[in-house]
């Protein structure tokens, strides 16, 4: 098998790939919404059928207490290393659905980009590997590397059961390196290998004032207003300089080294264009750090949602009985998500007045992760990316979280290669999610090259 033949096969099948991906993207596998449980199950079945179609073996759904993990392997490359490929077939919710320019589950190609929920995060990127495996097996009858694929259905709700799954199936997951394609490239035209991720602690705060909503005229002035108390509580989480005020929050933060700050500063980052593309009046973040440092090397406190009282059209003069906020904190090495959850809850309770009842629900967590980018798998990934995209990649960190990367490191002792081809503006988690089809096709070539590069490292 030559890579050229594989590459030719990939180029010849571009249209078919888009047709097949469109079918995959049509399944609304939203793991956060119980109403979509049947869709999630259907998506697992579709994924398994696809793994069989491309020629993988031992394909099956492995049950968990939640959504099943889809498994498939090809283990006939004697003397070559084994890749454990991880991805997810579940997607984010689509609200506010009115802001989508085309229906979120009817993939639509506009100007070389395919628009649909899951296009970039993560169906499009795992599909890239399905097609790379298919191309290698069709053209050469074999893969240059051993590979096990596991696709989970709960990544968007915190990978609740994956940790247990990995611990229970440790033997079946024996490998040399984990490969994940669930991150964006540094920028359009700037392929990259990601060597660090932030962690996450996600919580919900519920504030209750009275037994029921009250008339704001008849009762206004006599009782605490839960929506106002919640605003006060949230406002105390960060100071004017964007620094989180939770006591102990920064205790375990690994400081950015001067060397890493210098590397960040060299990257082709255009802050003016970044602001302009977001249409933000002004960028804002923690005093004393650049935007890339804030995104990659510093923890955050964000409000993800707030709901209280009357929010319809018009006016209703009500004092809400309750108010709710969803909040999350992105974490960096060496912060511990469980400890941060405890610190947040303790501080929220401390600053809340006695006039209301406050409940904090800790919803999910993910550990931050960083790798040594001198390791041979990371270097091999760099060469493969250059083959797919025609230029050497940069090495960067990412602001998002893939908690399972830390799990693979901890439980299986495996290094990880983050081999993503999304773009930062592809609206993962927002309306009008999309994937650049050029990057998708180059990514298939790069993935096939990755199998060869890792295979060549020997057992």
């Amino acid at each position: 098998m030559t890579l050229d033949a594989v590459t030719d096969f990939i180029h010849a099948n571009r249209d078919r790939y888009v047709r097949e991906l469109t079918e995959y993207l049509a399944i609304p596998s939203i793991s956060a919404l119980p109403d979509h449980a049947a869709d999630v199950a259907r998506c697992a079945e579709w994924t398994a059928a696809e793994l069989k179609r491309v020629g993988l073996e031992n394909v099956r759904l492995i049950e968990t207490p939640g959504n099943p993990v889809v498994y498939g392997d090809w283990l006939h490359a004697e003397g070559a290393p084994t890749i454990l490929f991880y991805g997810h077939y579940d997607v984010q919710p689509v609200d506010p659905v009115g802001q989508w320019e085309s229906p979120p589950f009817e993939a639509t190609v506009r100007q070389g980009e395919i628009y649909a929920r899951g296009a970039a995060d993560d169906k499009g990127q795992i599909f890239m590997h399905f097609k790379a495996v298919e191309a290698c097996l069709r053209e050469g009858g074999r893969l240059p590397v051993n590979i096990r694929l596991i696709l989970e259905g709960e990544e968007e709700v915190g990978s609740t059961h994956l940790d247990g799954f990995v611990r229970e199936h440790e033997d079946e997951l024996a490998a040399d390196v984990v490969v994940i394609s669930d991150t964006p490239m540094f920028d359009r035209g700037v392929p990259s290998i990601c060597y660090g991720l932030r962690g996450l602690t996600y919580c919900q705060i519920d504030v209750r004032g009275t037994a029921s909503d009250l008339h704001s005229g008849s009762f206004g002035g006599a009782v605490a207003n839960p929506a106002f108390v919640l605003a006060q509580l949230l406002a105390q989480m960060k100071d004017r300089g964007g620094r989180v005020k939770i006591p102990g929050f920064y205790d375990d933060v690994r400081p950015l080294s001067d060397a890493e700050r210098a590397e960040f500063a060299k990257l082709p980052f255009d802050e003016r264009r970044y602001r302009s593309e977001l249409e933000a009046p002004k960028l804002f973040g923690e005093t004393g750090f650049t935007t890339l440092e804030r995104l990659w090397g510093r923890p955050t406190f964000e409000v993800n949602g707030v709901l209280a009282g009357f929010t319809g059209e018009g006016a209703k003069t009500v004092i809400p009985a309750t108010a709710m906020a969803k909040v999350s904190m992105r974490l960096v090495p060496d912060q511990d998500p469980a400890k941060i959850g405890e610190l947040f809850e303790a501080y929220a309770r401390k600053v809340a007045p006695k006039t209301v009842d406050v409940t904090v629900t800790r919803m999910h967590t993910g550990k931050p992760w960083m790798t040594d980018f001198d390791n041979p798998f990371v270097r091999a990934a760099g060469r493969a990316m250059e083959t797919g995209f025609g230029q050497a990649p940069v090495f960067n960190r990412e602001g998002g979280s893939i908690p399972v990367v830390a799990t693979f490191q901890e439980v299986l002792g495996l290094p990880a290669v983050l081999f993503g081809v999304g773009l930062p503006d592809e609206n993962a988690h927002a309306p009008n999610e999309k994937l650049d089809l050029g990057n998708f096709h180059n990514g298939i070539v790069a993935s096939a090259a990755l199998y060869r590069e890792i295979g060549a490292l020997g057992g």
Copy 2:
């Protein structure tokens, strides 16, 4: 006509009144929601038909740029004063509808109380007058007073067009006194005449950060979070002692006199029971004032609703593009609602950071009102209330707003009598709104007595 015969007629018709009121309450005339426009129109027609049935004359719908005003009169009591009766046939929205124990538009009687949206505010109370007019006309063939009724359909959205209506129809509204039944009694078993109301300024704040929702991992730390900025903005509106921080907010507040504070202190108000009935962990209000002083004599700032980002079940790691709050301020004499709206907007703009776009929409206003309670109409109302309820009423103020009372005073130069029989715990503007049927029936007797008492004052 003797009052006894009228009273007997009223007692004999109790069941029929409840049946008819049930039919009235079944019409979901929610003026705040455009989807209910047809229901509001149907309710105006039903109201007009009812005015005809009870024997009023010149009944018609008078068009406004919004919902019509229903008009009816009876003007044959020569030498007697003329009452201008004002009420409203529109109702509040019903959300959160899941908290209703019986459907909001299927009136249900439980333990002597009728549960439905509009039962107390205001359909039940205006229906009381319809039945008092009917009883007088059926038993005596005449009323002891001249009366004009105007029922509006936009009270719950700020009486947008009533001001213009009153100015345009000044001649047709010629009268000696305005009577309104849209306030609660001081307490169960404590009938009252209300001599003061708070005013209102209602606004919406919209905060926009970026063009679309963003992934809180990929972008968290680099941009301002509109939900957090909104929380900061709201938190700056009041200090820890519950005092509003908007500069100039208290400039025109008429201080409570020592005499009035002493009168408030004499009222049978049980703060412990009040707190317990609301199921509030603790009461809270402006430092230096009692609960009744806070409710009646001091202005407020309340958050009526907040919406941002993801508010469904589960977790979504998003930085919302926008955040919205509905806020309102209750005002006391001599605050001017328009001026307060300006002060609020200026302060909101001043404290908002440059990292977001802030829009303030001023939605509606109502002037505060107070009357001299020595005037003969107020005294006549006190005697009528004693006839209906068997005990002398107390004289109190109310925390709510009926902006049109100030309009009647300003445009028509009329004193007003607030002749309400609701109860403070009847959930106006909240789920499970209700009206005590004992008070409803006593209120019909009291209304008939009011017509006689005012009639007896002469022309």
